[in-house]
C-alpha cells in the first residue's frame, strides 16, 4: 500500500460509456434529493452552523491548514521508500525499507554487506582499503547515497519521486 509503482503503461483513455454513466448517476441523485430531503438537509445544516462560534471557525481553519500541511509534507513522495543497490554500474536489487534485512552484494574485491534497519540503510562492511562508504554511516533521507568505488557497489535511497535528474560519478 505504501509503495507507489510507476507502471510503464499509462492510464487507458476514458470510454464514452463512462461519461454517460457518470452523468446518469448525477442526474438520478439530483432527482431523488429535490423534495423533502433537501429541506431536511438544509435544516440540519443550519442547526449545525448555529453552534459554531467565531473561535470555532478559527480552530477549524487552523486544523484544516495543519492537516493540509501534514498531507503535503508526508505524502509528497520525499520519504525514502526503497534502497537501490547497484553493482558494477547496473542495478543489483531494489529493496523496500519496510523490513529489516541484510543483503550481501558481490563485487570484484569481495562481498559488501548492506544492512537495512529501522527504515535506514548503510553499508555495514566492505573490502575496500579506505572504507569511505562504511564511514558514510546511516542513510536516512531520499536521495542519499553511499558509494564503494573499489568494489563498485553503491546504495541509494529513493522515494516515489526522483530527487536528482542525473548523477555522474
Amino acid at each position: 500500500m505504501f509503495f507507489i509503482h510507476h507502471s510503464p503503461i499509462g492510464n487507458k483513455t476514458q470510454q464514452p460509456i463512462d461519461k454517460i454513466g457518470t452523468g446518469l448517476a448525477f442526474f438520478s441523485v439530483f432527482r431523488v434529493f429535490r423534495g423533502y430531503e433537501l429541506r431536511l438537509f438544509r435544516m440540519m445544516y443550519t442547526a449545525a452552523l448555529q453552534h459554531i462560534k467565531l473561535g470555532d471557525w478559527l480552530t477549524l481553519l487552523l486544523g484544516s491548514i495543519f492537516v493540509a500541511l501534514l498531507t503535503f509534507k508526508l505524502w509528497s513522495g520525499d520519504l525514502a521508500d526503497k534502497a537501490i543497490i547497484r553493482s558494477g554500474g547496473k542495478i543489483f536489487r531494489e529493496v523496500p525499507l519496510s523490513r529489516d534485512q541484510q543483503i550481501e552484494v558481490p563485487g570484484p574485491l569481495g562481498v559488501s554487506i548492506i544492512s537495512i534497519q529501522n527504515r535506514k540503510a548503510r553499508i555495514a562492511s566492505d573490502p575496500s582499503p579506505r572504507q569511505y562508504c562504511v564511514r558514510q554511516g546511516w542513510l536516512q533521507q531520499a536521495g542519499e547515497i553511499a558509494l564503494c568505488l573499489p568494489n563498485q557497489v553503491s546504495v541509494e535511497l529513493a522515494g516515489s519521486r526522483k530527487k536528482y535528474d542525473s548523477l555522474n560519478y
Partner: protein, 184 residues
C-alpha cells in the same frame, strides 16, 4: 462464622460520575458495531460525554469520567493491558491535558467544537507517540499520520457539534445539579 462485609461509602458525586461513565461506556459499545476502514480511525462517540461533562461539571469530573470509561471499556472488551488499551489510555490522557488548557479559552468565542478538535488532535498525537516509541518504532507510520489527522478533524467537529446540540437544552449554569435528579 460471622460474615464480614466491606462497606464502601459512596457519595452522591461518585454515583453521578459512575452514571456518566456508564453512558460513555454505552456509546463505546455502540461504536464497536460501526466498522472502520483502518484500525484506530473511529468516530470516538464517547468523547461527546467527556465534552458535555467538561462544559457542565468541570475538568476533574471529566477526567474521572474519561479515564473510568477507558479502563472499564477495556475490561468489558477484554482489552485490559493490551497495546490497544495503552493506545486508548495515552490518547485519553493527552486529550485531557490539552482540555485542561483549552477550557480557559473564552467561552464567548470558543465552544465545544473547538475543545473537541483540540482534544481529537491531542488524542491522535498521544496514540502516535505510543506507537512510535513502543509498538512500531518505524518511520513508515508517517504515512498514516495524514489519515489520522483528517479523521481527527472530521470526527472532532462532528462530536463537538453533537455535544453542542445536547447542551442546547441546558443553557443556564447548573449549581446543584449533582444532588438533583437530572438525567446526566
Amino acid at each position: 462464622m460471622t460474615t464480614s462485609t466491606i462497606n464502601l461509602n459512596t457519595t452522591a458525586e461518585d454515583h453521578h460520575i459512575a452514571r456518566m461513565a456508564a453512558v460513555a461506556l454505552g456509546l463505546t459499545i455502540l461504536e464497536s458495531a460501526i466498522p472502520s476502514p483502518l484500525p484506530g480511525v473511529k468516530p470516538g462517540l464517547a468523547n461527546i460525554v467527556t465534552l458535555i461533562v467538561l462544559a457542565r461539571y468541570g475538568w476533574r469530573t471529566a477526567a474521572w469520567v474519561s479515564l473510568l470509561r477507558v479502563v472499564a471499556g477495556s475490561l468489558l472488551f477484554g482489552n485490559f493491558l493490551t497495546p490497544g488499551f495503552f493506545l486508548s489510555l495515552s490518547g485519553a490522557v493527552l486529550s485531557l491535558i490539552v482540555l485542561a488548557f483549552a477550557r480557559h479559552l473564552p467561552a464567548r468565542w470558543f465552544g465545544p467544537v473547538s475543545h473537541s478538535i483540540y482534544a481529537a488532535f491531542a488524542h491522535i498525537t498521544g496514540q502516535m507517540l505510543v506507537v512510535y516509541l513502543w509498538l512500531i518504532p518505524h518511520a513508515g507510520i508517517a504515512y498514516l499520520i495524514p489519515i489520522f489527522a483528517t479523521a481527527a478533524l472530521v470526527f472532532g467537529t462532528v462530536n463537538g457539534l453533537i455535544a453542542a446540540r445536547f447542551m442546547d437544552n441546558f443553557k443556564k449554569p447548573l449549581d446543584h445539579g449533582i444532588h438533583g435528579r437530572k438525567a446526566i
